[in-house]
């Protein structure tokens, strides 16, 4: 792989990564959010695989394959299962910020990420660190989704978005994450999603809804 194709592939994967994140903010249907999360997983895998091929590192390619199984297959499947069969739950009915507003906010977050990562890129300017603003903005967008959505499942998806961003940032900013660290983080995320899935099912069976907005008051 020569240098131009490397930079191109890295940029395309980065662009898809960001586009999927913004797309998730623009969706009301939780199912299509999950589908876009899987697409973003593909972009993340491509990002890591391109890095692995460029550095001739078998370890990174193995990590990419593992990430693919987890983030394109297992996590979307688990969230979809937590969604259950209730059709009323498939649509985000209330969000603190409306769709047009959250899209404009995501544009502002991207600009913020660019401003914030400038000194980081200046430390070691390379093709990999040039994609850093994209991954940091995905972190910010994930945080935004986590904060503004009211449905428990969209919050889970927001959390996964945040984690995708953190993982991508880790791979791009360092010269390679040790496989044991990545393994630990991945298991953590998997466990969090399993726990949250159980929690969502319990929420629904107790209250009949997963809208967290209704859980503000304490009752005895």
């Amino acid at each position: 792989m020569n240098d131009t194709t490397y930079v191109q592939a890295l940029n395309v994967a980065g662009g898809l990564f960001l586009l999927a994140a913004v797309g998730m903010l623009s969706r009301r249907q939780i199912t299509s959010m999950i589908r876009l999360f899987a697409v973003q997983g593909v972009a993340l895998v491509a990002l890591v695989a391109v890095l692995g091929v460029h550095q001739h590192s078998l370890e990174l390619m193995g990590v990419a394959a593992g990430l693919g199984v987890l983030r394109v297959g297992v996590l979307p499947h688990l969230t979809r299962r937590a969604l259950g069969a209730a059709p009323a739950e498939r649509r985000e009915t209330s969000s603190a910020v409306n769709i047009a507003g959250s899209l404009l906010a995501s544009a502002a977050l991207v600009l913020l990420a660019y401003a914030v990562t400038r000194p980081l890129i200046a430390l070691t300017p390379s093709a990999a660190t040039a994609v850093l603003p994209v991954t940091v903005s995905v972190v910010l967008i994930g945080l935004f989704a986590l904060a503004t959505r009211h449905n428990a499942l969209s919050q889970v998806v927001g959390f996964l978005l945040l984690d995708n961003g953190i993982t991508a940032t880790a791979f791009l900013a360092t010269s390679g994450v040790p496989i044991i660290v990545e393994l630990g983080v991945s298991f953590d995320v998997l466990l969090v999603v399993v726990v949250l899935q159980v929690l969502t099912v319990r929420l629904r069976s107790t209250f009949g809804t997963t809208n967290l907005d209704g859980l503000r008051e304490l009752r005895d």
Partner: protein, 314 residues
């Protein structure tokens, strides 16, 4: 400006005007077949235009010169754009003034004139259609300008010929994130500008939903024919512009030899885009008018990201 470029430009304008109604026919035919109807044939829009052109136009009582001028202005702006935009050749006779901003301005001029004419009729539908069209235009404009900036940043110029030539020299640039994001944003804007689903339904005559049709409701005869022709011309030119900006392969330079090949490439690209648009429309319902700002805000964000990435990523 030399003979070669004048002949090439004339060929381009004639070809585009001849093809535009056929392209509309192709889209209607694809839609009809996918919906299980037989369809009226590819040449039906041309037959409609010919029939309308022979008839005498009428104008509502009390309407003035704005109403009479609007079809002419709409058609003239579309024709000038089809001469300026590099569809067959990058060396059109208007190359020096074929700025992306000029093209956007001409498009807006046509739309605004039509809206003024709709207001001039003094009917309720005309005013409603005009106000809706202005809303869509006002929301689409920032996206177009940002998309223009994103595309011109990599070429260093807003001249269309320069942008297309730069893309021809570096084909991999098409795959850069900035270019892909700009392509997505521009697609939404083209759909909004030409009044296709999900922003506007081109085949509706239901009072509550129409935008473009409400504006042209009072036109008849030759005026209506001109407006129909101009609408399909705008659609063809905009699809051709998308093809030239994001897949410029086959466009001729300042030579005659490549012109037939360029014409074939243009026809193929435009037909593929139109077929994709028509197929997509089958699966879409019209958005509620109050959801349209969401769609256009999305395309604005895409254009904004395109600008950000073209400056900082590529």
């Amino acid at each position: 400006m030399n003979t070669v470029s004048i002949v090439e430009t004339a060929t381009q304008v004639v070809l585009v005007i001849a093809v535009a109604p056929v392209l509309t026919g192709v889209m209607r035919q694809i839609r009809a077949r996918l919906e299980g109807r037989a369809g009226a044939g590819l040449l039906q829009p041309w037959r409609d235009v010919r029939k309308l052109m022979r008839r005498q136009p009428t104008s509502p009582v009390g309407s003035g010169w704005v109403f009479r001028m609007a079809p002419l202005v709409l058609f003239a702006t579309a024709a000038v754009i089809s001469a300026a935009v590099p569809l067959l050749t990058t060396a059109t006779a208007l190359t020096r003034s074929a700025d992306l901003l000029v093209v956007v301005g001409l498009l807006a001029l046509g739309t605004v004139t039509l809206a003024l004419a709709a207001l001039d009729t003094g009917t309720a539908f005309g005013g409603m259609g005009a106000s809706r069209e202005m809303m869509v235009l006002a929301l689409a404009e920032p996206t177009i300008l940002l998309g223009v900036f994103a595309l011109s940043a990599r070429a260093g110029s807003t001249n269309l010929g320069t942008i297309v030539t730069a893309t021809l020299h570096q084909p991999l640039r098409v795959l850069s994130p900035a270019s892909l994001l700009a392509a997505a944003a521009m697609t939404v804007v083209v759909i909004a500008e030409t009044g296709r689903l999900p922003v506007d339904n081109p085949s509706t005559h239901l009072e509550l939903t129409m935008i473009h049709e409400a504006m042209v409701l009072e036109y008849s005869g030759a005026d209506l024919g001109l407006i129909e022709l101009a609408s399909s011309l705008r659609l063809t030119v905009l699809l051709g512009l998308m093809a030239s900006l994001f897949a410029p392969w086959g466009i001729a330079g300042a030579t005659f030899a490549a012109l037939p090949l360029a014409a074939l490439a243009f026809l193929a690209k435009v037909t593929v885009l139109a077929a994709a648009l028509a197929t997509g429309e089958v699966f879409l319902a019209k958005l509620r008018l109050f959801r349209v700002p969401e769609l256009l805000a999305g395309s604005f964000v895409l254009a904004m990201l395109a600008v950000a990435t073209s400056f900082l990523l590529a």
